[in-house]
Amino acid sequence: MNSRREFLQAGIAASLLPVAGLASGTETPPVSFYKVIVDQRFSSSVEFGEAWRARGASVHTIRGDITDLWFHDLDPQWKKRPVSIAGLTAHGPLFCLERLAWDHRMRVVSRIEQRSHDGDGQPLISWVIAPKDRT
């Protein structure tokens, strides 16, 4: 279990803008995330990933299911050290990741509904999960 003090102090506020801005086509400064998560079922999510990859981010692609990402990557990583991730996904993957992140003392620090939709007509969401101080 990680210490409550293990959180990202700097850069969180800055990191919110690129994700939100990127989705609406704004030029943004480079920001470091451990992984950027995109869902290959949605073209806007794929484009989001390509834009982040061009900025040097490590992009992980899912097809709705986060099990593999969680089991092979995030869970071992977050057990060692909580690190920030970002994504543009449907509600379901974010719902899972948010709850799993809570167990590692992390929070969703940005959550912005996008204009694009999932197969159920619900807006896709751009988001950032980061270690967070609770004081």
Partner: protein, 536 residues
């Protein structure tokens, strides 16, 4: 905000003692932190009645749990233990009694023992199914964990709540597959059950019963103690897995089909979790239903003579059953052959070979299979679009209505009639026909997801309807096996034989083992003495 009946000073003093016990950083009182323990699928979402915690405390050791309980008992602080708190659809991590302090056991995540020779494990409450699966995989042990779906909870929490999985019947019932537990009582005393009661016992995870009354069941779906360790029997990795489907032509064939299936399961011939289906009615994992079938169903229901004729004229089977086998290839092929012989007693029965895998799976197979049936935890369920006329807002959750019915075709048909009428009477979207799930060997569970919305009026209506459906089920002798805190009193009310003798017994035990009523007040309808009258 202090818990009900606790003054601010006592609450503050108790929190200080909690901090001394576990360290200041593991006592959570800020709104932001406490909000994490809300039930994401609460049927009271956003209403004053929503059950919310006042604080949370996260011990790391059994000794810390004991210290917390002693302090809680001293100050009469209601506590609500959770393991990983991911029991969505049945309450999540929110307490029955608002203002309780969540006793969050997630940090107690040690896998204390896994025996490949005894096929068993001993774990703490914070160990998730993923953790145990990883532990086994990393050591290349030939063991499978029976996991629920989704699989992000914990063996301890899921089994204590009577959850189920997908492997052989003796593992599928998660509470049945446990062997021995350790419990901290309300006064901080420490108890071990079964053989664990003997210091230096060599067989804690080998023999369940120990000596004298077997009390493990009293710590499941209850509030008599805080379980801090639990043993489980694990399934030896089988050589192979085989599934085959039998389909039968007529509506009435459901009755012998289920009887034969039950005989095969209770004889140990078929040992995987069977799947019931209806090729004519369609549904999950079935062909899409024809529009004219929907019309006939809406007009005359599943008993419609024109529907039966329609199916027969087109040679579409009315029912199907997928039978599943784990074991050595030669054995399970013989078992499937024997099963076909038995099902052949139904005129017109047809058979189809489905899946066959040897273990370990290839990567391609791994990606293709329904993972819980291979003992692999998965979260895939959350990626499946679930929007439907029955649940227009799946992202906001659901509550399971899950009555146990007899394992017979007659009961399945009768339950459908009863619940279809109830749906009509109470204005629920009509489910034209629903087949039960088959977790348990000798009974069926009907599972209906009641939608949760963020609309207060809709939730209010759904809550009332849920209670009415619980009553309707009980009038037919069908009781819920598990439910969310919002409905636990209503369900316990239906277990009313001899003027609620069972609940009165629970209350007698509660008063004896937790006289201050500090553990999970109200859980499964068991209220401590000082709250009983106000809750009545």
């Amino acid at each position: 905000m202090p818990p009900p009946g606790v003054n601010a000073k006592d609450f503050s003093d108790a929190l200080k003692q909690f901090e001394e016990a576990v360290g200041k950083e593991w006592v959570f009182t800020s709104d932001e932190d406490v909000a994490l323990y809300r039930d994401a699928y609460s049927p009271f979402w956003g209403e004053p009645e929503e059950r919310v915690a006042s604080a949370a405390v996260a011990p790391y050791t059994v000794e810390q749990v004991q210290a917390v309980m002693k302090a809680a008992n001293e100050y009469k602080i209601p506590v609500y233990p959770i393991s990983t708190g991911k029991n969505l659809g049945y309450g999540g991590s929110a307490p029955n009694l608002s203002g309780s302090v969540v006793l969050d056991l997630k940090r107690m995540n040690r896998i204390l023992d896994v025996s490949e020779r005894n096929h068993s494990a001993l774990v703490e409450p914070g160990v998730s199914y993923f953790d145990l699966y990883r532990h086994i995989q990393e050591r290349k042990l030939k063991l499978w964990v029976d996991v629920p779906d989704p699989g992000w909870g914990s063996p301890v929490g899921n089994s204590l709540d009577h959850g189920g999985g997908y492997l052989q019947p003796m593992y599928r019932n998660h509470f049945d597959s446990h062997c021995g537990m350790e419990v901290v009582l309300a006064n901080g005393d420490l108890l071990r059950t079964g053989m664990g009661a003997m210091p230096g016992a060599q067989t804690w995870q080998q023999y369940k019963f120990g000596f004298g009354p077997w009390i493990d069941g009293m710590f499941s779906q209850s509030n008599f103690g805080v379980v801090t360790k639990m043993g489980f029997w694990l399934m030896p990795e089988p050589d192979a897995y085989l599934t085959g489907t039998v389909s039968v032509p007529k509506y009435e064939d459901l009755i012998p089909m289920i009887d034969i299936l039950t005989l095969l399961e209770n004889s140990g011939i078929s040992n995987g979790m069977p799947g019931l289906g209806s090729p004519i009615l369609g549904g999950f994992m079935m062909p899409q239903r024809a529009p004219e079938v929907t019309e006939m169903l809406q007009k005359d229901g599943v008993e419609s003579a024109s529907l039966h004729k329609y199916a027969q004229d087109r040679g579409i089977p009315f029912w199907s059953c997928t039978v599943k086998f784990y074991g050595p290839e030669k054995a399970i092929r013989a078992q499937w052959e024997y099963a076909q012989e038995k099902f052949s007693a139904i005129p017109g029965a047809k058979f189809k070979d489905d899946e066959f895998y040897k273990f370990p799976l290839t990567p391609d197979q791994f990606n293709k299979v329904h993972k819980p049936e291979m003992g692999i935890p998965s979260l895939e369920m959350f990626s499946i679009g679930a929007r439907s006329p029955y649940n227009p807002t799946p992202g906001q959750g659901h509550i399971w209505f899950s009555p146990i019915i007899p394992r017979t075709g007659e009961a399945v048909l009768e339950a459908n009639k009863v619940f279809a009428k109830a749906a009509k009477d109470f204005g629920l979207p009509l489910l034209s026909f629903s087949l039960p799930t088959t977790y348990w060997m000798r009974s069926f569970i009907f599972l209906f997801g009641f939608p949760i919305t963020h609309d207060i009026a809709t939730n209010k209506k759904n809550r009332e309807t849920f209670k009415q459906v619980v009553r309707v089920a009980a009038e037919h002798g069908w009781g819920e096996y598990r439910t969310a805190p919002a409905y636990q009193d209503a369900v316990m009310d239906t277990y009313s034989f001899n003027n609620h003798a069972l609940r009165r017994f629970h209350e007698t035990v509660k008063d004896a083992v937790d006289p201050n009523g500090i553990i999970s007040a109200g859980r499964y309808g068991i209220w401590p003495k000082h709250l009983r009258e106000t809750k009545a």
